[in-house]
């Protein structure tokens, strides 16, 4: 296996509160291989978006990056100065944002918003043909060149965001729940567009979401997050066939089929105080299989090649129903 394009090691993003830090993202590590798409899943508040904020260095006060290393193309991203890092943004690390509805500047034309990012990073504004080429790539009509964001539908805006993300041929794209705000039909079409563009450009991608069904179609590997920690990473087929962590199981079992959708299975038990996580397994308060061993630290360990999991009972539970 070659050198991973993006490598995250022990990334910690903490939010300061008067009563101690909230561990929004605690000690997460993963690699993204070149050309690979990694899915990052977990329920709301599990720290998926915070993790990408950490990678993009967009944690704003009162949050802070408390530790860890992010290496992109062999370059340590955390060590760079603000200005140096700014230059890496978008040219190497682009984002397709969560709320496309509001992610475009309402007082700037679509084309100008694509142009300004190109101009900033290449020094020259793109010509009209290049912008239209991008539009075509994501299936947008030419006429929107002169339009403002409010004149576009939600799906179109999301495509604009995709077009914008690939404008500079970045090394890695982070798609943060890129489709979650759209209705089902549009969602499917936009997801297809995203896949098409990704395949055409061969770009590496981190895809964030909680829709396991969509993930199954789009990604190569899946990382499951719970309460700021990654609890399992596995190739998509292994994850669906033999999830190692009880939480992964719950997520997967909430997806009955690829066409039918239903809400995620709600687990019993209380969540812990985020300022004061329990000793040992992060999931112990809600885990149906909890035992005494769960109060001991649960490091990520290899269950089988390519599949790592943070559960000491992974083997014995394999195959068991939740």
């Amino acid at each position: 296996m070659s050198e991973p394009v993006l490598s995250v090691r022990g990334l910690k993003v903490y939010y300061a509160t008067p009563d101690g830090d909230v561990l929004a993202t605690d000690d997460i590590s993963f690699d993204l291989e070149r050309g690979e798409t990694l899915g990052l899943v977990g329920e709301s508040g599990s720290g998926k978006t915070t993790a990408t904020s950490g990678i993009l260095r967009m944690v704003s006060s009162p949050g802070r990056i408390a530790g860890g290393r992010v290496t992109l193309d062999g370059e340590d991203m955390i060590a760079l100065s603000d200005e140096e890092f700014r230059k890496r943004r978008w040219s190497k690390l682009a984002l397709i944002p969560q709320g496309a509805m509001n992610s475009l500047n309402p007082t700037m034309k679509i084309s100008a918003q694509i142009a300004d990012v190109v101009r900033t990073h290449t020094g020259a504004a793109p010509d009209r043909a290049r912008v239209l080429e991008l539009f075509q790539m994501v299936g947008l009509p030419e006429r929107i060149y002169e339009m403002y964001p409010h004149e576009l539908s939600g799906g179109m805006k999301q495509r604009v965001c995709i077009a914008m993300a690939v404008a500079l041929n970045p090394t890695v794209i982070i798609a943060d729940e890129a489709t979650s705000a759209l209705d089902v039909v549009v969602q499917r079409v936009v997801a297809q567009t995203l896949a098409k563009v990704r395949d055409a450009l061969g770009v590496s991608m981190i895809m964030i979401g909680h829709d396991m069904g969509l993930m199954a179609q789009m990604v190569d590997r899946i990382a499951v997050m719970y309460a700021g920690k990654i609890v399992e990473i596995a190739p998509v087929a292994d994850m669906f066939a033999r999830p190692g962590h009880p939480y992964s199981k719950i997520l997967i079992e909430s997806v009955p089929s690829l066409t039918e959708r239903r809400p995620m299975k709600i687990t019993e038990g209380i969540t812990h105080d985020p300022r004061n996580p329990p000793e040992g397994c992060i999931f112990q308060l809600r885990c149906p299989h909890v035992n005494d061993g769960c109060t001991k630290p649960q490091p990520m360990r290899e269950l089988r090649p390519g599949q790592t999991v943070a559960c000491h009972r992974a083997e014995e539970l394999e195959g068991a129903h939740v």
Partner: protein
């Protein structure tokens, strides 16, 4: 830029006319609620100089006729409206029989020129500082210094004017003490005169700027806080755009929109608010004219100045309404 639809334009014009008509009627009615007889006052003022005047009744009747207050109220009202159309507000009672329009014509250029300019400067500085209070990349000093500087907003403008005058004109002698231009320059469109006007105008303008920028800064701060949380600003940051570019094109550009409306609405109030600054600097704009008229209870002049202020406000609102769709693409020129 598109063109302004005719229907929208007509609609706005009707609103403009209606606002001016109602406001103009109100400023006609209000002075008439006062029990004071302007002719008696004019006569009293004539007498106050030496404590006596001969032929009082005769002069009084003449004053009444010249002021037009010997006619029925309804006639007076329509005459007033008719006059207002052509900026004819009758004769000043304090400097009878100077036409009010002549007084306004003298004062208006100074107000339109320097005073509105200083209000625009205030607007720009205030909004910029308000934005800097919120912006993540502002120098640390700015976040402390700007709120501290806003304390000036609590100082009455006359005091700020006097303090500036004291420090920069009397002690340091960097600027002239009073007047709108030097005693030795030749008024006209020549460089020496323009320079003199700017030199003389600087302190009065500053006096206004330091006491009013806080108003805009506070408003802008609130708007910036909202805009700062918007997704498009976050995305702009992720795009690796230069922080300064984000500040101008993404944040201020969007946050400023309500402020522009507020400015149009406030401009008249701001002109009226600088009366004392103009007075202490002997700067003969509309504010000074209004101040003198207030001291003299010169109602025709107060009426005329108020009317012009109303017109300036209404026109500013009108203009902002017309250009707003061009500065905020989300708004269209619609009928309503």
């Amino acid at each position: 830029m598109g063109r302004i639809p005719r229907k929208y334009l007509i609609n706005r014009l009707i609103t403009l006319a209606l606002t001016v008509l109602i406001a103009a009627s109100m400023i006609w009615v209000i002075p008439r609620l006062s029990p004071v007889d302007p002719a008696e006052i004019a006569l009293g003022r004539m007498a106050s100089g030496a404590g006596a005047v001969a032929n009082a009744e005769e002069i009084l009747a003449q004053l009444r006729a010249q002021m037009g207050i010997d006619q029925p109220l309804i006639v007076q009202y329509f005459k007033y409206l008719k006059g207002a159309l052509v900026f004819d507000f009758g004769l000043s009672t304090a400097t009878f029989p100077t036409p009010v329009s002549a007084l306004i014509a003298q004062a208006l250029p100074w107000t339109l020129g320097l005073m509105i300019l200083s209000l625009v400067i205030t607007f720009v500085i205030g909004n910029l500082l308000g934005a800097l209070m919120v912006w993540d990349h502002s120098p640390k000093l700015a976040k402390v210094a700007i709120p501290a500087a806003m304390v000036f907003t609590s100082i009455p403008p006359i005091l700020s004017g006097l303090l500036l005058m004291w420090i920069f004109a009397a002690k340091l002698r960097w600027f002239p003490l009073t007047g709108a231009y030097g005693l030795t320059v030749d008024p006209g469109w020549n460089w020496a005169f323009v320079q003199s006007v700017l030199h003389h105008g600087f302190l009065p303008a500053m006096a206004i700027v330091i006491v009013t920028f806080g108003f805009w800064a506070l408003g802008m701060r609130g708007l910036m806080i909202t805009v700062q949380g918007e997704d498009y600003v976050k995305l702009a940051e992720a795009k690796g755009l230069k922080p300064r570019y984000i500040l101008y094109r993404y944040m201020i550009r969007n946050a400023i929109l309500p402020q522009i409306t507020a400015f149009a609405l406030k401009i008249g109030l701001l002109i009226a608010g600088q009366v004392l600054v103009e007075r202490i600097f002997a700067y003969n704009g509309m504010g000074k004219l209004l101040y003198d008229a207030i001291l003299d209870q010169d109602f025709p002049v107060i009426q005329g100045v108020s009317y012009v202020i109303i017109l300036i406000t209404a026109l500013s609102v009108f203009i902002v309404d017309l250009i707003y769709p061009f500065i905020d693409p989300r708004i269209r020129h619609e009928g309503g």
